[in-house]
């Protein structure tokens, strides 16, 4: 970016060409250039349409540069509305047709002390003209709303990155709060970056003057000013944001109008100022044909649970206790009672799962949602569901641990807890989504297993998937499985007057027991946590029976593997000696790392596990096909441990527990090292060796 640097933290004039400030404000960003805007509500447009309209809005005097991808990070105080800003930019970008991946990052405190480093909240969005897999390793552009936001994020920026700073908050007091002894905007400390100092707040206050808001309220619209500026810079369509603001603030017209005005003012500022001389164009991505929306993991997971209810004909009963980062699923499901969904906010985690088990016993689809600490509390009850063999979906949106750990950060260190975190031999199937949109299909799969096999199922999402988003191709209902609850209605043992109902007489194929719900005459029975006699289900302390039942419960879970497709291995030429195997949200960074290595001309295979228990039947065979198996995880090697134990394969772990997604560049290096080892060659992954200018992360 070739913009001149302003040394002093003073505002650019709002109207460099002498126009009256309010005049600029009144301009509709899209209409100033005489472009016809596609009316709101007309949602289906071809990528070409959108590309054309975006090209046309470019003001003639500004240079337009083509880029294939950009990573922008919005950062500010947690009260500055950065999550909303990022979210709106994302919606605009999704509507434009780029592929995208987002990474929100916010403090655990609702309002950490204002202006301090712990109070910084950020939202990163990576968008491209091609299919991408991660939110990007390092931002190309940082928007910093205060000194703390600048300081907290500067370390992540590569040299030459663009920084747009709101100078308004660079006061002595705020600089001190952020730990600066000198104003970084003065002097040369930021000389290696393309720095733009703009009084975003001051211009926002000016732009919304006519609405008579207090100074405080007026300045709160500064995030919309910043959004307007960035929207201009990257040619984003504005109608989604205008529609959003109209709806969000429908009841407070002053605030609505101020936000709309600030948004337009930000756009116009970009258009008119001489400080920004270049606009960027990132063409829409070629994506598989289909109907798309942008979706976060928690939303997709909620929809998946509802879909599981519809596909099985069961009413969903959610018993839950609020916990970060899972609460949004409770919020979302509580809005969908129209699908027969009951949401019960319990007094604690245990009551949440207890009520879900009760609902399952009564013939509904019991679900409980939580994070790691909640799973620990629910363990005994999950064991009860194992013993009583009732359907139950336990959603664990993993966060940094142990104990309270890092509530708002991501991690995948609950695998062992999901696998073994109960007393006794208590096998529980485990399903893990690999991306935000994939949370939908993973939730449907968890419901399928729970209902078909009469078992609790762990659905392991994580904080990154929960809050991150991506374009999601909306599946047709015909793509979803039909799930049959197959309630028992008849006695199943003996005949005539001696006929009985045996609650533990199993289906031969699945080993599932009959699910007879209260209200079914003649099938009255008692179940509980005590060991059951095989078949009849009465209490049994017989040693041989216990041994048999323990093995049978395990065999039932193992048998789920027979219903799974073979593991998909991506090994384009079949020449790879190294396999990278992952699970959960590491899918994106692993895929991006693999692409880098392949672009540099080397061979590497990739596979990703949706099912962690049981593993797919062919996993052992796949592992043995490769000389080296790399298992990157955001834990200290939990999947590695399981693979080594089960398959006696000497897998290599790559492990980070920083509360953040793995980085593609780092993984590429690790993979490169293994490829060098396995093939006895030198591996060069320096940019020069990679033919393309940028990586397809």
């Amino acid at each position: 970016m070739a913009a001149g640097r302003a040394r002093a933290p003073t505002a650019y004039a709002l109207t460099p060409r002498g126009a009256h400030p309010t005049e600029a404000v009144r301009h509709d960003p899209c209409h100033t250039t005489g472009v016809e805007v596609v009316p709101q509500g007309r949602k289906a447009r071809s990528a070409l349409d959108r590309r054309l309209s975006s090209l046309l809005v470019v003001a003639p005097e500004k240079e337009v540069k083509q880029l294939d991808r950009v990573i922008i990070r919005f950062a500010g105080d947690s009260g500055d509305g950065m999550q909303l800003t990022g979210d709106r930019f994302t919606q605009e970008t999704a509507a434009f047709g780029n592929d995208l991946v987002t990474l929100p990052n916010f403090p655990a405190e609702i309002r950490a002390p204002q202006g301090t480093l712990p109070g910084v909240s950020s939202f990163q969005v990576h968008f491209a003209d091609h299919d991408i897999l991660t939110a990007g390793d390092a931002p190309d552009v940082l928007v910093a709303m205060n000194p703390a936001a600048l300081r907290a994020n500067l370390g992540d920026l590569p040299k030459g990155a663009t920084i747009i700073v709101d100078t308004h908050d660079f006061t002595a007091r705020n600089l001190t709060k952020a730990g600066y002894t000198e104003n970084p905007l003065d002097g040369d400390t930021l000389a290696e970056y393309a720095l733009h100092t703009v009084d975003l707040t001051g211009m926002t206050i000016e732009a919304v003057k006519e609405f008579g808001l207090s100074r405080k309220d007026a300045s709160r619209a500064k995030n919309m000013f910043a959004l307007g500026l960035l929207s201009w810079m990257y040619g984003r369509p504005t109608e989604t944001t205008n529609a959003f603001l109209a709806k969000r603030f429908a009841k407070v017209p002053d605030i609505r109008d101020a936000n709309v005005a600030a948004f337009k003012a930000g756009w116009n500022f970009g258009e008119t100022t001489e400080a920004f001389v270049v606009r960027y164009e990132i063409k829409p991505a070629k994506m598989a044909p289909g109907h798309y929306r942008n979706i976060t993991g928690n939303l997709a997971l909620s929809y998946g649970l509802i879909a599981g209810g519809v596909q099985s004909g069961l009413s969903v009963f959610l018993g839950s206790y609020p916990i970060t980062p899972a609460s949004d699923i409770l919020h979302e499901l509580s809005k969908h009672k129209g699908f027969g969904v009951t949401t019960f906010q319990a007094e604690d985690e245990i009551a949440g799962v207890g009520a879900a088990i009760g609902a399952s016993f009564a013939g509904q689809l019991g679900v409980t949602t939580t994070s790691g600490p909640g799973v620990a509390l629910k363990s005994e009850a999950v064991g009860l569901a194992v013993m009583t063999e009732l359907p139950l979906v336990v959603v664990d949106v993993q966060r940094g641990g142990p104990s309270t750990g890092l509530p708002t950060k991501t991690e995948q260190a609950d695998l062992m807890q999901a696998m073994f975190g109960r007393n006794g031999e208590a096998p529980v199937p485990i399903v893990a989504p690999q991306s935000p949109g994939d949370c939908f299909a993973a939730a449907v799969e968890a419901v399928r297993i729970a209902v078909t096999y009469r078992t609790p199922v762990m659905l392991l999402s994580d904080g990154y998937l929960a809050n991150g988003s991506e374009p999601w191709r909306i599946p047709g209902l015909d793509e979803l499985p039909t799930i049959d609850p197959d309630f028992a209605t008849e006695k199943n043992q003996g005949s005539g007057d001696d006929a009985e109902f045996w609650p533990y007489l199993r289906d031969e194929a699945t080993l599932a027991r009959p699910w007879a719900i209260p209200g079914t005459p003649g099938l009255e029975h008692r179940i509980g946590g005590l060991e059951k006699g095989d078949g009849h289900g009465n209490i049994s302390y017989d040693p041989a029976n216990h041994d048999f039942m323990v093995r049978t419960r395990q065999a039932k879970v193992d048998r789920i593997a027979d219903s799974l497709p073979p593991l998909e291995v991506d090994d384009p030429t079949g020449d790879a000696k190294v396999l990278v195997l992952g699970w959960g949200s590491t899918y994106g960074p692993i895929g991006a790392g693999v692409r880098r290595v392949r672009k540099a001309g080397y061979h590497v295979a990739q596979a990703h596990l949706r099912h962690l228990n049981p593993f797919p039947n062919d996993l052992g065979e796949v592992l043995k096909r490769y000389d080296k198996v790399l298992v990157p995880e955001m834990n200290l090697g939990q999947l590695s441990l399981l693979l080594r134990a089960k398959y006696l394969v000497d897998v290599v772990g790559y492990n980070e527990v920083r509360g953040l997604p793995l980085k593609a560049a780092v993984l590429a290096d690790v993979i490169g090292g293994l490829v060098a080892d396995a093939e006895g060659i030198d591996v060069d992954l320096t940019p020069a060796s990679i033919q393309q200018e940028s990586h397809d992360d």
Partner: protein, 368 residues
């Protein structure tokens, strides 16, 4: 039940299908061998429940008993209904799920003093405040039986047990006071050995829509024998039991010449509570008339405080409180029903269409 002069109310079992078939206690007896210690008070309660259930006239398959852990929690195995013997302290949570999911079930919880008041104390109070339609039978033997004789949260301070050789230090809970504090809508206390009283309380509890808490004094002859002797012995019980009958003056003790009990409850001006006085010493109109339907639980609480926290020499017995409040499960079902009342909703095809609209909503675009 006698006419209580209340507006027409929904009964606790109103939505449960009934049967015209004649039922007996035997129909509710499972084929499992009952395994409590000889002489355990649990036998009497089981017999009373088995012979009472036919009176409800409900279909057997629509009755569910849920229990936690402890001696009494074996109860569901002995009843030929649907049942779940769950985990320690959690029965009210499971019953909440069942009762909320299914209006057509009569839901019962069997629990003990350790199960309900110690490990499950949280669930008990929250179930009571929500007023989920179920009846909780709290067997209070003031000791831990299944784990072989440790003191419980209702044991008297100073109790010498295996875990407290020098005497326990804990101040006990009074389950009735606790339930009233949690604003339970039905709170009663009865005695294992008084079949008639027990049955009348069960009937009232089952008829109540909401959470009914019934504390049952239950003797554990193995680890806490004689804990309730004062209220059971023919010699002492007249002075030990303070009978609570809605609409009647509270009188007890050996009868006077006029047939009234020698002792009476009156308001205590000094403490704001109630106290026991000689009936002969007070005017008839000053004697407290028990009002179980008083929306304000203060007086019921004051009466509950007359229970001895040490060795039980005196205890009010009967229905302390019986008031109407909307139940959680009715309200939860109403929310679901009101959200689903769109034409043809129960149609699965319609639900699928709405699912397609839901997931296909928001800002969408199409790639051709």
């Amino acid at each position: 039940m006698t006419d209580l002069g209340l507006p027409a109310l929904r009964s606790g079992t109103e939505s449960v299908p009934t049967t015209d078939e004649k039922q007996t206690g035997k129909d509710f007896t499972s084929d499992q061998e009952v395994r409590w210690c000889p002489g355990c008070g649990d036998y009497a309660v089981l017999k009373a429940v088995q012979s009472f259930l036919p009176d409800l006239g409900l279909r057997r398959e629509n009755i569910v008993f849920v229990s936690g852990i402890g001696c009494s929690s074996r109860f569901p195995y002995y009843l030929d209904t649907y049942g779940m013997h769950s985990i320690h302290g959690r029965a009210p949570t499971i019953a909440t799920g069942i009762a909320t999911a299914r209006e057509d079930l009569s839901v019962w919880v069997v629990t003990g003093d350790g199960d309900a008041l110690s490990i499950g104390g949280n669930h008990l109070i929250h179930t009571l405040r929500r007023n989920v339609n179920m009846t909780i039978l709290l067997f209070n033997n003031r000791i831990y039986g299944l784990t072989k004789g440790q003191y419980s949260p209702t044991s008297e301070t100073g109790k010498v047990t295996k875990s407290t050789p020098m005497g326990s230090l804990d101040h006990p809970f009074n389950p009735v006071s606790l339930a009233l504090g949690a604003e339970a809508t039905f709170v009663a206390r009865t005695i294992d050995s008084d079949r008639k009283h027990l049955t009348s309380v069960l009937a009232a509890a089952a008829a109540h829509r909401g959470t009914s808490l019934v504390e049952i004094y239950q003797n554990c002859p193995i680890f806490n024998d004689g804990a309730f002797d004062a209220i059971k012995s023919p010699d002492t019980k007249a002075d030990a039991i303070i009978p609570l009958v809605h609409g009647e003056p509270v009188l007890f003790g050996a009868p006077l010449e006029d047939g009234r009990g020698a002792k009476a409850l009156v308001r205590d001006e000094e403490t704001g509570g109630v106290k026991v006085v000689a009936t002969a010493d007070v005017a008839a109109e000053d004697i407290l008339v028990h009002d179980a339907h008083n929306p304000d639980p203060t007086m019921a609480f004051a009466i509950s405080r007359l229970t001895d926290s040490g060795y039980l020499n005196t205890s009010p017995i009967g229905i302390f409180r019986q008031v109407q409040r909307p139940t959680y499960d009715d309200a939860a079902r109403e929310q679901v029903a009101s959200a689903t009342t769109v034409p043809g909703d129960d149609d699965a095809a319609d639900r699928s269409a709405r699912l397609a609209a839901l997931i296909g909503g928001g800002d969408t675009w199409t790639i051709l």
